[in-house]
Symmetry: C2
Subunit: 195 residues, 2 copies
DNA sequence: CTGTGCTAAGACCGATCTGTCTTGTTCGGG
DNA sequence: CCCGAACAAGACAGATCGGTCTTAGCACAG
C-alpha cells in the first residue's frame, strides 16, 4: 500500500466515505430505520468491510456524530469569520446559515438531538450532544464578545432562541421562526448597546 | 355490563389504563425500545387484549399522543387561569410549570418531538405535532392578550424561547435555560410596555 | 509465478419485535 | 344453569436486523 491508484479508494477514503453515506442516511431516515446493510449497499461496500472499520453499529453512529460535530463547528466558525464587522453581523449570519439549511427539503433539526432521542440510554451520545451544545453557546459568546457579555447570559439567550427556532422551523417546515428569532436577537443586542 | 364492580376495570378503564401505561413507558424509554409485550405486561393485560382495543402499535402511539395533547393543554390552560393577574404572570407560570417538569428525573423534553423523531415518515404524528405547537403558541397569545400583541410576533418569540429552553434543559439536565428564558420573556413584555 | 491480504457478494445465525392464534378460565345475563 | 363474550397466558409465524462467516476475485509484494 505504498501507492494508491488514482480513482481507487484508500482505506481512509473508504472509511470516510462510509461515515459520509451513513450520516446522510441516518439523518434523513433515522438511526433505527436505516440498517447497516443499507449503509454498506449505498456506500458500494460489503457489510464485512464496514465491520472491518467499525466494531458495531453504535461505533458507526458515534463516528458520524463526531464527524458532524467537526464539520458543523468548522462551518460555523468560518461563517463567523467571514462576517467580522459587528457582533450583530457575526450572530446574524449564523441564523441565516441555519435558515439556509432549514430551507432544504429533509431538514429535521439538530442531528445530535435526533440521535439522543433514538438512543436515550446511550451515554456517549448524550455526552457528545452536551458537548455540541456547549460549543455552540461558546461560539455565540465569542461572536458577541466576552467583554460585551461578561456573564454569558446574552449568549445563553441567543443559544435558546437558536435552538427553539431550529426545532419549530423543522416542525412547521418554515423559516419563519428563524427570522422571528433573528429579529429578536437584533433587538437584544441593540438593547444591550452592543453595536 | 349495567354495573361495574368496584375495583374491577371496565372496558373504558382498561383502554385508558393501557394508554396511561404505554405513554409513560414510551416517553421514558422511547417508542421503538418499548415493545407491545412490555406495555401489555406492565398494564397487567394480555397482548391479545391490547390488540382488541388498538388495531396496531401505531394506533396505540397515536392514542397516547392524543391523550397527551388533551392533558397538556388542559394543564396549561388551568395554570394560566390560576394566575390571571398580569400577562407577565400568565406567561411566567407556564415557564415555571415547565421548570417543575424539567426538574423531575427522566425529563426528555416534548413527547411530540420525540415521537416525530422516532417516526419521521409518519404523517399523523407530524400533523399532531404541528397541531400541538400551534395550540401552544395560541395559548401564549391569549395569555399575552391579542390587543397587546396584534401581530402575534411576541407570542411567537415566547414560543421559540419556550421550545429552546425545554430542549436545552433536557440536554443539560438543568433548569437554567428555563430561568434564563423566563427572565428574557419578562424583559420582552416590559419592553413592549405590557404590564 | 505464487502467496498474502483486502475486497465484494451474500449466505447464515441468533435475537427481537409485531401481530395472530390457541387454550383454558372467569363472569355476567337470559 | 348455561351460554357466550372477554380475558390471561403463552405459543406461534413472519419479518427484520445486527453481526459472523464463507467463497471467490483481484491487486500487489517477493
Amino acid at each position: 500500500m505504498i501507492l494508491d491508484v488514482a480513482g481507487e479508494a484508500s482505506a481512509q477514503d473508504l472509511r470516510a466515505n462510509l461515515v459520509r453515506v451513513a450520516a446522510r442516511l441516518f439523518y434523513a431516515e433515522g438511526l433505527r430505520t436505516v440498517g447497516v446493510d443499507r449503509v454498506a449497499s449505498e456506500a458500494g461496500v460489503a457489510k464485512a468491510t464496514l465491520y472491518r472499520y467499525f466494531a458495531n453499529k453504535d461505533d458507526l453512529i458515534l463516528a458520524c456524530l463526531e464527524q458532524r460535530q467537526a464539520d458543523v463547528m468548522a462551518s460555523m466558525r468560518a461563517t463567523v469569520e467571514r462576517a467580522p464587522a459587528t457582533a450583530l453581523d457575526r450572530v446574524g449570519v449564523l441564523f441565516l446559515e441555519l435558515g439556509h439549511l432549514a430551507m432544504q427539503p429533509g431538514f429535521r433539526g439538530c442531528p445530535f438531538l435526533l440521535a439522543m432521542t433514538e438512543y436515550p440510554q446511550d451515554d456517549r451520545i448524550a455526552e457528545l450532544t452536551r458537548q455540541h451544545k456547549r460549543a455552540t453557546r461558546a461560539l455565540f459568546a465569542t461572536a458577541i464578545g466576552a467583554e460585551k457579555d461578561p456573564t454569558g447570559n446574552l449568549a445563553g439567550v441567543v443559544a435558546i432562541l437558536y435552538e427553539g427556532a431550529s426545532v419549530l422551523a423543522s416542525v412547521e417546515g418554515s423559516t419563519r421562526p428563524l427570522t422571528l428569532a433573528l429579529r429578536n436577537v437584533e433587538n437584544l443586542l441593540r438593547a444591550a448597546a452592543i453595536d
